[in-house]
Assembly symmetry: C2
Homo-oligomer: 374 residues x 2
């Protein structure tokens, strides 16, 4: 996979990459559809607000309904009624953050399901098999997400294991490709190394030696300070091959996104807009607001007069507050629609700003707005 860079502005860049299911413009935000649905949204609504690629979780889909089931009913795209590209994570992050009693072995991780406590196993080959069988467009290599904080010694061992697993993922797919021909998914490698810049560099070099279709930074937004995160983002982004997509995993606070785009990253995913929406925290062009506040009780104005989403076209703050306090499903729908529309529009505006050589002022303007936040 190649990324076609149309324009660079400093280290930030805008371009596109192609999948068999459509072209994706970058920088891109991928809404998160953990269990095969972006919470509260229909696929039609996602398309309408400009989502072009979504993320699904291998770990969750493997546990329920199981990849065999998805394969039997015609693959993930048909199952969830989404015809655009799907990126699937490898399950590595979830195994380390959700599963109980995990036991790391050389060939993978044994763990207990967070749903029913059953004994499960994921490893590089299994993660590849699952992602192939469900029909992912972009698969992620199986990695160990280095926890924070981690001693240097642990971080070294962890990155070495991640490199060995990455090699096995690549080999598995190459073997499959040889056997079944060309029409295979793209595979991204995940850079680990904790908060050690030299280890991050080493991890990336080892992955580049193996050769992937894109490169991702993992193990961030796991408890470290903003300074540490920005330090790694600033180191890793610009070192990644310039002609391939660069993906910053799980980082979605827009302040962090601005820093990451400034440092050359192209792809992002995060549950923040959807989770915040369900909690009543809404993004607007003048900062975040909490919709439950008493001041909105009889406020007839839309959430954001500058917004063209379904929610803002049709509803008042008073209604959104009433729906939220009444715990209605429509509250989660309208809030999610708005927040995702906000994110996708933000990325669209960011692409234009980069193309027009004014990313620096764009970043400054939004940093000012985010400072006003609740």
């Amino acid at each position: 996979m190649q990324i076609e860079i149309k324009h660079g502005d400093g280290s930030s860049r805008t371009g596109c990459f192609a999948t068999t299911r459509g072209v994706v413009n970058t920088p891109v935000f991928m809404p998160v559809g953990t269990q095969g649905t972006v919470k509260a949204m229909s696929p039609d609504e996602l398309r309408e607000i400009g989502a072009r690629i979504i993320l699904c979780n291998t770990y969750h889909l493997h546990l329920r309904p199981g990849h065999e089931t998805i394969s039997q009913v015609g693959g993930l795209h048909k199952f969830i009624n989404w015809s655009g590209p799907i990126l699937t994570d490898s399950g590595g992050f979830q195994v380390f953050s959700l599963a109980a009693l995990r036991k790391i072995r050389e060939d993978g991780v044994e763990f207990r399901s967070h749903i029913d406590g059953s004994l499960q196993f994921l490893g590089p080959e299994k993660a590849m098999e699952i992602q192939c069988e469900i029909g992912s467009d972009i698969a992620m290599a199986f990695d160990e997400c280095t926890p924070y904080p981690a001693e240097r010694e642990y971080a070294v061992k962890s990155l070495e294991l991640t490199t060995r697993w990455a090699r096995q993922c690549r080999d598995y797919l190459d073997m499959k490709r040889e056997r079944y021909g060309n029409h295979m998914l793209d595979l991204f490698g995940i850079v680990q190394g904790g908060m050690y810049k030299d280890l991050r560099k080493r991890s990336l070099e080892e992955l580049v030696n193996i050769g992937f279709d894109g490169y991702a930074a993992g193990g961030l937004s796991v408890g470290e300070s903003k300074e540490e995160m920005y330090d790694i983002i600033g180191t890793v982004g610009k070192m990644m091959p310039a002609d391939q997509p660069r993906y910053l995993m799980g980082v979605g606070d827009l302040r962090d996104v601005l820093i990451a785009v400034e440092n050359g990253f192209d792809m992002f995913d995060c549950v923040m807009p959807t989770r915040n929406a369900r909690n009543g925290t809404l993004f607007t062009s003048t900062g975040r607001i909490s919709i439950k506040r008493t001041e909105y009780k009889a406020d007839p104005s839309p959430l954001d007069p500058d917004c063209s989403c379904y929610t803002c076209r049709n509803y008042s703050k008073a209604f959104l507050r009433h729906m939220f306090l009444s715990k209605e499903i429509l509250s989660m729908r309208l809030n999610t629609m708005h927040n995702l529309h906000f994110y996708l529009s933000f990325f669209e505006k960011m692409r234009v700003a980069i193309a027009e050589n004014r990313f620096t002022s764009f970043k400054k303007k939004w940093e000012g707005i985010f400072e006003q936040d609740i």
Copy 2:
């Protein structure tokens, strides 16, 4: 208000009535939007599946967000983004079924809110004031919903109170009409009388003497046997004025609907299709099914091959089962969409069957299907 009967088939009848916000074809099913939203649905989706009139609850909207708030932001239709007719119940039924510590007085009922325990009051004038202020199209008179079982003596007193309150509702609206002119909502009277046929007759006669725009049967589906319910439905329906709408409140099991339409009723509301949807019980052309059953785990077929709803056009039973087990919001959306579409289509087919003089065979066919139910 007059109902224009286009065709009768036995005592069943199909026709239409007009409101300032649109014509409604009967027999009609009104989806229930308790707190200002039909749970899990958007107004656009409701229109798309053929809903033409919805019901909202005076009791709930009075407690939250308050009718003053709704009035301040431009009325109920604008607030909830529904431009079609809205029927509002009077709150009588909810006061008797939801509120704690209710105390019936001659001028109304004092009760404690089920939300925060605060002391509240509803009576005929207050119920009218609320329904006027929020801009209801069809208001219901404030009644005492006679509980089941009720001694004859209690039922008599209760119906007498309901008649006195109905008179006060009528007077309140007549006074308003005189003062502000013609553009007022329609008002329906509610027949009580428990399971005593002669009391039901007396209640209806007293209401007809006062004069309403339509008549409703209340106090049914409150714990009585099907035989008792059918006995009252068979007595009351045909006695109601033939040139005005006849509304059977809160009865929505389609077996009961068939009996009621056979006995001349025109209007229905019920939470059954929406509540069942959220619980995973789905209506199909061959009977109800529970979507969580293991047999659907890898079933690629739609819920109902004869159904043209969004859910059946786009999703497999396997996906619907996965969404339900995963407790996803999309599960409630897709299930509700399907069940409401089923109900609204059922009513459409029933209207055609009556118009084509084949209601008897229509009823027989569906009674056979409902016998297959889970």
